[in-house]
């Protein structure tokens, strides 16, 4: 019986655990990650023009270690696209 949508419950459990474990392991919650992102934008902007709205910060898992991944588009790239 599936009360909550069509996804099998084991997949929900796995997806939820993946997120929870990243936060448990890094001690970083969503708001801390947001403030890290703001700091990164401010610091990098002092050196090069970037597109703040396109900045993506994420944590990837690699076995038992975590990797902080920042994808920061430069403004020049933005100008080309327009």
């Amino acid at each position: 019986m599936r009360l909550f949508g069509f996804k099998k419950s084991a997949s929900s459990a796995k997806e939820r655990l993946q997120l929870v474990l990243i936060h448990d392991r890094t001690d970083l919650n969503t708001s801390q990650l947001e403030s890290l992102k703001d700091d990164l934008i401010a610091t990098i902007s002092r050196h090069v023009a970037i597109d703040p709205s396109g900045v993506l910060i994420s944590i990837a898992r690699d076995g038992r270690s975590q990797r902080l991944i920042a994808d920061i588009p430069l403004s020049t790239a933005l100008r080309h696209r327009r």
């Binding site: 084991a10 655990l17 474990l21 392991r25 038992r64």
Partner: protein, 262 residues
Amino acid sequence: MTGKVVTITSGKGGVGKTTSVANIAVALALLGKKVTCIDGDIGLRNLDVVLGLENRIVYDLVDVIEGRCRLRQAMIRDKRLPELYLIPAAQTRDKSAVSPTDMIQLCEELRSEVDWILIDSPAGIERGFKNSIAAADKVLVMTNPEISAVRDADRVIGILESEEKGPASLIINRINPVLVKRGDMLSVEDVLDLLAIDLIGKIPEDDNVLVASNRGQPLVLDSKSKTGMAFGNIARRLLGEKIPFLDLETETLWSKLLGRKR
């Protein structure tokens, strides 16, 4: 003789640590090893009843540590096997009666007496857990394919890494192949992917575990039990044998043939 100290821990309570310690200890003894198990859960003694040795307790772990008896006097011999002993937990309420240093000293003494020392850690990450891992050469983390048990196991694995007690090995207990197949239980692969440590045992969910506890006769003593065999295989892997993991799926086939949904 230099005995090896193996601690079984889990984070979350009720995942099957005591049952596992009892079965792995009996399995090692059946393989001719000299084994002592220690109940590390001060104040909540349990390993004695699971092993069926509750009526023979005179002295306990705290008595040894506080010098009220000699080590040998607190080692209760299991009469079913030539060389299996239990050092029971104290039922005192004072958990601070034992320190990590006490455990290291005790295990140092035991190492010269036996081949294997198995420690049943209490749940949680408090003093009792710290005591239980202090002397460990190897830690086995136990979990169930269940969201909160996996999360707590991850926490414990992280602590073991930071205390340089890693790499731990994983035992996944209470696997229900029917639920896994239906997509309603995390599979062994899911749990391994999440926790990213080595697997040393996978144990099916089995009502006979309860029956065995009721009788005080660990399942490995029943040579026909598949669950008993799964525990026995953990013992053999500890001894360095390369034993393939049991295929729990055949259980599903049986259930289907019998037309049962359990």
